[in-house]
């Protein structure tokens, strides 16, 4: 693994811990703003939390892609100089972003609160990534497996949604408040779809490698769900703005497209029994356990999302902590679990000594238990707020929030549990990374897979 990819992976793991650390502090600031306003106010901690979560997901996703792409196309690798430039510009810019937050310099919008000029180096970094990814494109298989389609879609879609995010700099887009909000949430919603394409593509890649069955990435069924996901990326973003009095057809289109995700839920339920057998077969693999966890969280969050996507239900849930439950349930339960599986696979956590395996599994168990309590407490808080605000129509904000804040104390405790569990996991990954870099510079066959009985991986040149 090259030094700059090692840097990107370390950076990603630091962003993960930062997301949980700032999140834990932000949750305290939420409950006790009178104490925190003088030192670490909520309006500073929230963007630090949100940005570190976003940059963990994007950096972690890209790390996996850049490590795995040469395994798929050994004769058409990403351009190393462009790859290096991406990592350096990306990491440096994000460090500057956090510096701005620390000095309370904002100016951007939801999820991108930093001064807008910092979008330029981020865009330049992404341009370098695209150069690295698409160089050698002509030499690659003309009918690649689905995970390559998904990685490509994710990388291109991220660029488009990132540009769209910044259209508000053009005066015309701000000449109507409804247009301004619509375009903002169109890009925000589609951007989530973009990184999901990258991450789910990586999940599919891992499944083909762990099972030894490349056919699962070439089946018609798999491509059907890819196009279903892409259709949702393009058209279902309107569920963020159901209550906006913009044109009604945006709401109707989004509602209709969102309901197609029932097909995904039905598919998961139908395939559950066969999945259980597969899970038992690979359960001994540490990286696979994260995939299993992600699948359960997909089920839970999909059910929640499907109900939230019905406008009549959204009328209650919008603007409550149910939205937060969905966002965090997905980013932690699904995206983070898949990324930890991916990075664990890269770092060969199956090779960890017994002490570190035990630490990692303890962290895994703490994270799953804490996340469940975290998620349920947010839903409870959201239901309470929804009922008091929309059902009982209480007028005063403080009156609405009074019992909600009590429930959120459970959420805060669970958040600290999440942080603790993740620290154990990241510590084990950091140790695995040291082992991986100690082996760098030599050709090797993956002996782990032989020992565990799973199929052999290809020989790799770790210095390449």
């Amino acid at each position: 693994m090259t030094p700059h990819l090692q840097l990107l992976i370390r950076f990603s793991l630091l962003m993960l811990l930062a997301a949980l650390g700032f999140g834990a502090l932000a949750s305290l600031a939420f409950l006790y703003p009178q104490i925190s306003n003088g030192t670490l106010p909520f309006y500073m901690l929230r963007p630090m939390h949100v940005s570190s979560a976003l940059f963990w997901i994007i950096s972690g996703g890209v790390s996996g892609i850049l490590v795995f792409l040469p395994k798929v196309f050994p004769d058409a690798r990403p351009a190393p100089r462009a790859e290096r430039s991406f990592v350096l510009v990306w990491v440096t810019t994000i460090a500057v972003i956090f510096g701005c937050y620390f000095f309370k310099k904002f100016g951007g919008r939801e999820y991108w609160e930093f001064p807008p000029w910092l979008c330029l180096p981020l865009l330049a970094a992404w341009g370098c990534l695209m150069w690295a990814y698409f160089s050698g494109w002509r030499k690659r298989d003309k009918n690649p497996p689905l995970y390559v389609w998904m990685w490509t879609t994710g990388i291109v879609a991220f660029l488009l949604t990132f540009l769209e995010q910044n259209l508000y700099q053009i005066a015309w887009f701000r000449s109507s408040f409804l247009r301004e909000v619509t375009v903002q949430w169109k890009s925000n919603g589609a951007m989530v779809g973009a990184w999901n394409q990258m991450i789910y593509g990586t999940s599919l890649f891992l499944m083909t490698r762990i099972s030894g069955d490349e056919k699962i990435a070439r089946s018609r069924g798999a491509f059907f769900f890819y196009f279903l996901g892409l259709t949702n990326l393009m058209f279902n973003w309107g569920h963020h703005i159901y209550n906006l009095p913009a044109s009604s057809w945006i709401r109707h289109v989004s509602y209709a497209i969102s309901m197609t995700e029932w097909l995904i839920l039905i598919n998961i339920i139908q395939g559950f029994k066969a999945k259980l057998g597969q899970d038992r077969k690979h359960r001994h693999l540490l990286s696979y356990r994260f995939i299993i966890a992600a699948e359960y969280w997909v089920l839970l969050n999909l059910v929640l999302a499907l109900f939230m996507s019905i406008p009549a239900v959204n009328r209650y849930t919008h603007g409550t902590h149910i939205t937060v439950a969905h966002a965090m349930g997905a980013t932690i339960g699904i995206n983070t679990m898949i990324l930890l599986s991916s990075l664990g696979y890269v770092l060969r956590i199956e090779n960890l000594e017994a002490f570190w395996r035990k630490k990692l599994m303890r962290g895994f168990a703490i994270v799953q238990a804490s996340l469940l309590v975290f998620w349920l407490s947010l839903i409870t808080a959201g239901v309470l707020k929804a009922w008091r605000e929309t059902g009982l129509r209480l007028g005063s904000f403080d009156e609405i929030m009074q019992p909600v804040r009590i429930v959120l104390h459970v959420f805060v405790l669970a958040g600290f549990g999440l942080l603790w569990g993740m620290m154990l996991i990241v510590r084990a990954y950091w140790h695995a990374m040291k082992n991986a870099t100690a082996r760098a510079g030599s050709d090797m066959v993956d002996e782990v897979v032989e020992k565990t009985g799973a199929p052999l991986l290809v020989t790799e040149n770790a210095a390449g």
Partner: protein, 129 residues
């Protein structure tokens, strides 16, 4: 597969143009210079981290979509002094004017709360701009 992808991309591009040009339903007015400056200030002070507009933003404070309906004196009192939960941002009088102008512009765009009568049997609703 490539044909399906191409058709989807073309549909998305067409839909995007439609959203940009017709998505706002033509209901709201262009902002005054003060409202535009107020929007910039809203972003510079990161107000959306604690407050929502149309339910979008942070949940520490209330939704401010229609707070302008309570009058300028109400808004100025909160912005000028802060509260137990909201810090005092030490804004100048012209800055407070700009923020109020922005919130008036937002208020004029519509109502954040969906009335129960707007809900249709299909589960969707029809809102007047």
């Amino acid at each position: 597969m490539r044909l399906v992808l191409l058709l989807l991309c073309i549909s998305c591009a067409a839909y995007t143009v439609f959203v940009y040009t017709r998505g706002d339903a033509g209901g709201d007015k262009a902002p005054s210079p003060a409202a535009r400056a107020g929007m910039d200030l809203w972003q510079q002070k990161n107000c959306q981290s604690c407050h929502q507009i149309y339910g979008l933003g942070g949940y520490l404070g209330p939704d401010l979509t229609n707070v302008a309906g309570k009058g300028d004196a109400y808004m100025r009192a909160f912005i000028k002094r802060g509260t137990q939960r909201m810090p005092d941002f030490h804004l100048s009088a012209p800055e407070i004017d700009r923020l109020c102008a922005f919130l008036h512009w937002v208020d004029a765009s519509g109502k954040s709360k969906v009335p129960v009568g707007a809900v249709h049997w299909t589960g969707s609703y029809q809102l007047q701009p």
